[in-house]
C-alpha cells in the first residue's frame, strides 16, 4: 500500500547532484543525485555499507563532499558547515542516538529550540537574560514535544530514558529547529511495534509541511510511507523512482531485495 | 652572513631539530596511539641527562653510561606504564593533564633528593672531542655531528620499525582501530607497553646525548617540553613524519632567528605555530 503523494511545489526543496565522497581510493558515495520535494517522503534503502549514512552526512554538512553540489531552498550549500546548513532550514536525526545525555528531556528539546532564537554569542543580552523565560523558544519546544509524543517524561534525565523514548527525543530535537527539510536516519531503529506505529503516524503528519528523506531498513514502514524510493548499493544508486516501479525492477530484486520486497504488502 | 657561518648555523639547526625530533616522536606516538597527553615527558629528558652525568662519573665511561642509562630508563618507563598510565588511557584529558602535572612535581623532587639541585657538566668523551676545522678561525665540534648522527640513526630505526616490521604494523593498526586490532588477537596491552617504553627511551637517550652540550640542571625538562609540544602541534598528532618535518622546521626557525633577529627570536617559533594553525588546525600531516 504505497502512498504516492504529488509534490506541493514545482522545484525540489533540496537537490543534490552527482555527490561523491572518497576515502582514499574508496568511493563511499559515488555520483549520487537525489531530490526532496515538499509534501513527499523520499526513502533511501540499501544493504549495510551502501553509503546511506554517508549520503546523509554529506547533505547535512557533517562530512565534506569530494565533489558534487547540493542546493537547499534555492541556495547552493555545497561546502557549508553543518551549523550554517541547519540555520538555512535543514534538520537531521541520527541513527545512533545523539542527544545531550546528562540534560533532562525537556532541556534537550528547549536547547534545540533555542537555536532558532540565537543572536550573536558576543551579544551581552545573551549573557544576562534567563534562558528559561524565552517565550518563543518554550513554545517551539512544546510543539516539538507534542509532535514527538514526549510530554509525559520531560523531567527525566535523557541518558536514563528508555531506548524508544530516546529515539522520540532524537526526533523532537530535530523538529524543534523547525526545518523545512528533514533527513531521518533510521528513526525506527530498535523500536517495538507500538512505538514504531506512532513514529510512522508522526511521519505521515509531518509529510504535509516538510520534504523528508528517510533512511530505513523496515520494509513495511518504507512502503507505507514513501512516495519515492532510491536504492543504493556500494555507494551508487541502482534504482530510483516510484516505489511500485522500483519494487518491480529486476535489477533491484536481484541485487538486494529478492523475496522480501515481493512479500511486503 | 658568509657561507661558512651559514653552514655552521645550518648544522646547528639540524642538530637541535633532530634532538627535538627524538622527544617529539615519542610524545606524538604516545598521543596518537594511546591518546594520553603526558606533561611529564620532559622529565624523562631530564632523567636521561642526570643518569648520564651520574653513571659517567661512576663508571668513567660515557658509552657505558648511555647503555646502562637506556636500559634503566626503559625499565622505569615500563614500570610507570604498568603502574599508572595504563589506567588512564580511557580517562578524560583533564585527568591526564593533572596526573602528569603531579608527576612533574614528584619527579622534580625525586631528582632533587637523589642528585641535588646543582648544575653539572658532562665531559665529552675523548674520542669525540675533536673539532673539524672549516676556516682559519672557525671549526665545528665533532660531538655535535655525533649527536645528529645518533638522532638520525634512531629516526631511521623508528621509521623501519613502524613501516617495515610486523610490530610496527600492529602499532599502526592499534592507532587506527583499537577494538578491531584487539579482536584480531593482537595483544594490545603489550603494544601499549612497547610504545610507551619506546617514547620514554627516546626521550632519555636524547637527554643523555645532549648532556655534554646543554649541561645538566633542574628545570631542563620543562624548557624542552614546551618546544616538544610546539613540534607535535605543527607536525600533527600521531604523525612521526610530521614530527620530523616540524622538528627540523623549528630547528631552522629558532637557530636562524636567534642569529638574524635576536629581539624577537623567542617568539618566532610561536609565530610559525600560529601560521600553521590558521591554515591547518590539525597540523601539517594529519594522522
Amino acid at each position: 500500500m504505497s502512498n504516492t503523494a504529488s509534490p506541493r511545489s514545482e522545484i525540489p526543496l533540496l537537490s543534490a547532484r552527482d555527490l561523491t565522497k572518497r576515502f582514499g581510493g574508496l568511493a563511499a558515495v559515488n555520483q549520487v543525485s537525489v531530490d526532496l520535494w515538499l509534501g513527499q517522503i523520499h526513502a533511501v534503502i540499501g544493504p549495510n555499507g551502501a553509503g546511506k549514512s554517508t549520503l546523509t552526512n554529506l547533505l547535512s554538512g557533517d562530512l565534506p563532499a569530494t565533489s558534487g553540489t547540493v542546493v537547499l531552498r534555492g541556495q547552493d550549500i555545497s561546502g557549508w558547515p553543518p551549523e550554517k546548513i541547519s540555520s538555512h532550514g535543514l534538520g537531521r536525526s541520527y541513527q545512533k542516538t545523539n542527544i545531550f545525555r546528562s540534560f533532562s528531556v525537556w532541556e534537550n528539546v528547549r536547547l534545540a529550540a533555542q537555536s532558532r532564537s540565537q543572536p550573536s554569542a558576543f551579544n551581552p543580552l545573551q549573557w544576562w537574560r534567563s534562558a528559561f523565560n524565552m517565550h518563543e523558544v518554550n513554545e517551539r519546544a512544546e510543539r516539538a514535544m507534542e509532535l514527538a509524543g514526549l510530554h509525559k517524561r520531560r523531567h527525566h534525565v535523557a541518558g536514563e530514558a528508555s531506548h524508544g523514548e530516546q529515539r522520540q527525543l532524537e526526533i523532537a530535537m530535530t523538529l524543534a529547529t523547525e526545518p523545512s527539510v528533514l533527513l531521518l536516519d533510521e528513526p525506527l531503529a530498535g523500536m517495538g511495534s507500538a512505538e514504531a506505529e506512532s513514529m510512522v503516524q508522526l511521519l505521515l503528519r509531518l509529510k504535509k509541511d516538510h520534504a523528508i528523506m528517510l533512511v530505513e531498513h523496515d520494509m513495511d514502514a518504507i512502503f507505507t510511507l514513501s512516495d519515492r524510493l532510491t536504492v543504493m548499493v556500494n555507494g551508487q544508486v541502482i534504482a530510483s523512482g516510484w516505489p511500485a516501479e522500483v519494487r518491480a525492477d529486476k535489477g533491484v530484486q536481484a541485487a538486494y531485495l529478492g523475496d522480501e520486497l515481493s512479500e511486503a504488502h | 652572513m658568509d657561507i661558512v657561518n651559514f653552514l655552521i648555523q645550518l648544522l646547528n639547526s639540524m642538530q637541535y631539530g633532530l634532538l627535538l625530533f627524538m622527544l617529539a616522536a615519542g610524545l606524538t606516538l604516545i598521543f596518537g596511539i594511546m591518546g594520553v597527553v603526558n606533561l611529564a615527558h620532559g622529565s624523562f629528558y631530564m632523567l636521561g641527562a642526570y643518569l648520564a652525568w651520574s653513571l659517567a662519573s661512576l663508571t668513567g665511561s660515557f658509552a657505558l653510561a648511555i647503555l646502562v642509562g637506556t636500559i634503566l630508563s626503559v625499565l622505569f618507563g615500563l614500570l610507570l606504564e604498568w603502574l599508572l598510565f595504563r589506567h588512564f588511557y580511557q580517562r578524560d584529558h583533564l585527568d591526564q593533564v593533572l596526573l602528569t602535572f603531579g608527576l612533574i612535581y614528584v619527579f622534580e623532587e625525586m631528582r632533587s633528593i637523589l642528585w641535588g639541585d646543582d648544575v653539572h657538566g658532562v665531559a665529552i668523551p675523548d674520542l669525540l672531542s675533536a673539532s673539524i676545522p672549516l676556516t682559519d678561525t672557525l671549526s665545528y665540534p665533532v660531538y655535535r655531528l655525533f649527536m645528529s648522527a645518533v638522532c638520525l640513526v634512531l629516526a631511521l630505526g623508528l621509521y623501519l620499525l613502524i613501516s617495515k616490521t610486523k610490530l610496527g604494523m600492529k602499532i599502526r593498526a592499534g592507532a587506527f582501530n583499537h577494538e578491531m586490532t584487539q579482536a584480531l588477537g593482537v595483544n594490545i596491552k603489550l603494544i601499549h607497553a612497547v610504545v610507551f617504553a619506546l617514547g620514554v627511551g627516546l626521550a632519555t637517550v636524547a637527554g643523555m646525548v645532549a648532556a655534554p652540550v646543554s649541561s645538566v640542571y633542574p628545570n631542563m625538562g620543562s624548557q624542552v617540553l614546551i618546544m616538544c609540544f610546539v613540534v607535535v602541534v605543527i607536525g600533527g598528532i600521531g604523525s612521526v613524519k610530521g614530527a620530523l618535518v616540524a622538528a627540523l622546521l623549528v630547528g631552522l626557525v629558532d637557530t636562524f632567528g636567534k642569529v638574524l633577529l635576536p629581539q624577537v627570536a623567542g617568539m618566532l617559533v610561536y609565530v610559525l605555530m600560529a601560521a600553521v594553525l590558521l591554515f591547518k588546525p590539525e597540523g601539517l600531516f594529519k594522522h
Partner: protein, 331 residues
Amino acid sequence: MSAPQSHLETLPRSLNVLLALCFLALLLFPFVGTDFYVQMVSRMMILAIFAMSLDLLQGVTGLVSLGHAAYFGVAGYALAFLTPAGEPISLYTSLPLAVAASALLALMIGFLVVRTHGIYFIMVTMAFAQMVFYLFFDNKALGGSDGIYINFKPDAKLFNLENKHVFYYFTIACLLAVYIFLRRLLWSPFGRALAGIRVNEHRMRALGFDTFAHKLCAFTLAGALAGLAGYLWGAQTGYINPELMGFHMSAHAIMMVILGGMGHFAGAIIGAFSFEYVLHVFKDLPEVAGFNLGKHWQLWMGLFIVALVVFAPRGILGLLAKIFKSNEDAP
C-alpha cells in the same frame, strides 16, 4: 523550570545555606583576623576570581586551557605600566584598561586556538601562554625576569585602597560581582549553549549553533575575568613578574577548579581557598628524622594532585553535594 542536573550546576538547599553562612563569615573576618591573615584571605579571594574565570572555560564549556595564567599576568603588567613611578593611577581608568588588555589578548589567541580540539587545544593554549611568558621574560623593556614593582595601589578617590581592610572589602565586592555575573550567565541562553557544547558539541552544530563563536566568546570572557584577578593581585602585592603568567600558575588554576568541583563557581572559590591552604600546610611541614619535609613540599603537592585525580574527580563540592543530598529529598 526543570534544571538540568549536570556537573554540579544546582546544589541542595541546605548546602546553599552553608555557603551563604561561609560568605557571611568572610564578610565578618576582618573584625577578628590580624592584618597578616586579612591580607592572606584577600589573596585567596583574588585567586578565587581567577579560578572562577577558568571554571567558565573548563567546567561550563569543557575547554581545558593550560595557558590561562597569561591573561592573569597581562592585566597585572598593564597596571604596572600604567602606574607612574611617583604617584598612583586612577582605579577607574586603570582597571578597565587592564581588563581590556587581557580580553584583547584572549580574543586574539582564542581566535587561533579555539579552532582546535582535545589534546591539541590543551597544547596550543600552553604554547601561546609560554610565548607571552617569554615575551616578558626576555625583554628588559617589559621588566624582564626581575619583574616590575607597582609602588602605589590604585587611587579610588572615594575610598582608600592602601588600607588593608578597605582593600579586603573591595576584593569581596569584586568576588561577589563576578560570582553573580557568572551564575546569571550559567542560566542565560549563552550559558546553556556553552553547556551544550561541553556535553555534545557535534549535535550543537547540527542544531545550528555557531560553536566557534560561542567558544571564542567564552574564551575572551574568561580571559577578561582572569585579568580582573591579575589586576587585583598586582594592586595587592605591588609586584608583577613573568612567573605569574607561567605554566605553573596555569596548572595551579586547573587544580583549584578541580579540587573545589567544576561547573558551579562556588566550587572554584572553595577550591582556591583549599588549594592555598593545602600548599601552606605542606610548605610548613616540620623536619622529621633529619629530613626536611617542608622543603620538599613539591613532592607532597604532586602526590596530593595524583591522589585527587584518582579518588575525588568531582572535588570537594561534589562530595559535599552528595552528603547534603542524601539528607534531603531530591530537588
